[in-house]
């Protein structure tokens, strides 16, 4: 049971890191605060810093955590789905597609509410799903995915979507900050409203992926074997595609494109606890949340002005991607 102790140790370490990350996030910011201030707020003795601690820093940390968890879960699903450790919502093009949808919704003034979806998340979801389906169809050859085709198609489709996003943004004159937000991601505007927009979908997706994790394990043996073992392959595949696009789309619609989280995190976790998706999904989500929490902390503190968080995640993730690519050869 060496594996089991390992899993537990990882879980404990991650929980500890996440807690420390939340604590650090609460105390870090342009306004100087001390643990004493936080204690005075928690114990109800002072309301002075309530807005800064709760409305600004806590909501931001929670959102970063949820988005990180969503992206990592989405990445874990896509990696299992394409049976390829290099798949991730950014590489496969879902994120760029989702951001195109979100920006199009803004540009068109499309703001209906449909089943709790804002118009923005709805279009983000649809175009994200559209892109990933396109990539899926283009890279499927005789029932197998060619890795190169998958990556190249995803990158090309993502670049196209990003170009269209830029076009929509530059059509409007006052949109420089918007372009940075949508193309590089930021939690600067995070609030409880955004947390409320992400949390339910993440919760449902976590539950659904836990439910289907066994089938994902079967898919790893090949579609035909899985089918023979009683897994409804086509339905499961559809469900996973929808879940992963949904997660990526919801993340993008609150925080812009944040690349590479879904690539790096599930990979690390798989190295640590093995490829069983029943454990991988929840642990990857926890690790992804923790990872992005720290990335956001860095984005806020490295420079006097805030960095877009995509810069940080790319700085960590892109070299890792290159390393994986090199290993493949």
């Amino acid at each position: 049971m060496k594996n089991k102790t390992r899993r537990r140790a990882l879980l404990a370490v991650l929980a500890l890191l996440a807690a420390a990350g939340f604590f650090a996030s609460l105390l870090t910011g342009p306004v100087k605060t001390t643990p004493g201030d936080l204690w005075r707020l928690v114990s109800g003795r002072s309301q002075e810093q309530a807005v800064i601690f709760l409305d600004l820093r806590l909501s931001r940390a929670v959102l970063a955590f949820l988005v990180g968890a969503s992206l990592a879960l989405s990445g874990a699903i896509l990696q299992g789905y394409f049976q390829n450790p290099m798949a991730d919502p950014f590489v496969v093009g879902v994120s760029s597609g989702a951001s195109l949808g979100a920006v199009a919704a803004l540009a068109l003034g499309f703001n209906v509410v449909f089943f709790g979806f804002s118009g923005q998340s709805l279009l983000a979801f649809i175009s994200g799903l559209g892109i990933v389906s396109l990539v899926y169809l283009l890279s499927l050859r005789k029932g197998i995915f060619k890795i190169e085709t998958l990556l190249l198609t995803g990158i090309a489709a993502g670049a196209l979507a990003s170009a269209l996003t830029s076009f929509l943004l530059f059509m409007r004159s006052d949109s420089f900050d918007q372009a940075v937000f949508w193309l590089l991601g930021s939690f600067q505007l995070a609030g409880w409203k955004e947390v409320g927009a992400v949390a339910p979908y993440l919760a449902v997706s976590l539950a659904a992926s836990a439910w289907l994790a066994k089938d994902m394990n079967l898919l790893a043996m090949g579609d035909e074997t899985a089918q023979a073992l009683g897994c409804p392959v086509r339905r499961v595949r559809k469900a996973f595609l929808v879940i992963s696009s949904l997660l990526a789309a919801i993340s993008v619609s609150v925080s812009g494109i944040i690349g590479f989280v879904g690539l790096v995190v599930p990979h690390w976790i798989r190295l640590l606890i093995g490829p069983d998706h029943r454990r991988l999904f929840p642990q990857a989500a926890l690790a992804g949340g923790t990872f992005l929490l720290y990335c956001d902390l860095l984005a806020r503190t490295i420079l006097p002005a805030e960095l877009p968080i995509g810069v940080i995640t790319a700085a960590v993730g892109a070299p890792f991607f290159l390393y994986l690519l090199n290993q493949k050869r």
Binding site: D55, S173, P200, A305
Partner: protein
Amino acid sequence: MRDPSPLGPRRLSLPLRSASCENQVASGWGDRTKPFPFSAIIALLLLSMLGVGVPFAAVGPFSADGTPARQEVVRDDLGRPFALPERTPTRIVSMAPNITEILFALGLGPEVVGVTRFCDYPPEALAVAKIGGLVDPNIEIIQSLRPGLVIAFRGNPLRIVDRLRDLGSPVFVLDIGGGLDELYPLIAKIGLVTRKDREAEALSTKLRARQQAVEQALGVVDRKPRVFVILRGQGLWTCGGESYLNDIIARSGAVNIAAAVPKKWVLYGRERIVRDNPDAVFILAKSESDFAGARAWLSGEARLGSLTAVAANRVYFLDENAASRFGPRLVDILDLIARTLHPERFGGRP
């Protein structure tokens, strides 16, 4: 030349209306002491999935729970309601350099507690706490200044402005104008929301008098020099027909060669400059030494060096900060351009 249209000092197009006071709404999370119970979060999430509005967003600016004191409500340049304070607010945050300049000109300097990192005029503004830049103001810093009034500008990210409002700060958003005539209403609006109406009127009167002095000195100009304004960035940027600099050039008895382009700022191709061959060139620069560098670059450029303006050394310096901010110093710029191009009309030698 355009006719100086004399505006009455109180010709303000602000739709005013009365409403009961209720604007001091904090977002529901600001005053929470106990941690939110987890089960409630789950319930909220389920509600939000059913398309039911989550209560975070439910607190609108008009949920009446305050005392029903009568208070005037005006609308800002985004059309959002703004409850006029009864007296001059203390702790004012300015989110753009031109707003800072106007606030200081109205004598509100001591009340200003936050400005952007670009606010360097008047020099006193340098000593005020920095809230970040125009597109990246920091919500947390602004919030920590406990502002009594935030004056934002249309170019600030709308989402940040909205967030500040949601957090309970009174925010008034101003657009910038397309011409000198719109400067006076802008000053009047700032005077209105800061309750410095008389000071604003006095400032406008003073500025308008200087503007009229320039326009009178110029009289009718028959031969208008054709002017090109350079703002060096990635390429040759200039002011198009919709910019206030275009208006100021027209008022100084000159013609902007890029006036036909219906934009505020335009990337102007070199070929077009050579074709238009302007009589004078103004370079927006941060300092005299930047200007000297830009002028040297201009005469060194193969195709631009042969322009009439460059060959005849009619290349002039404009203070970038004064000329690119929609504030009181635009009148200085008007005066400067008019005197540079038509020295004979101001008692100088041609």
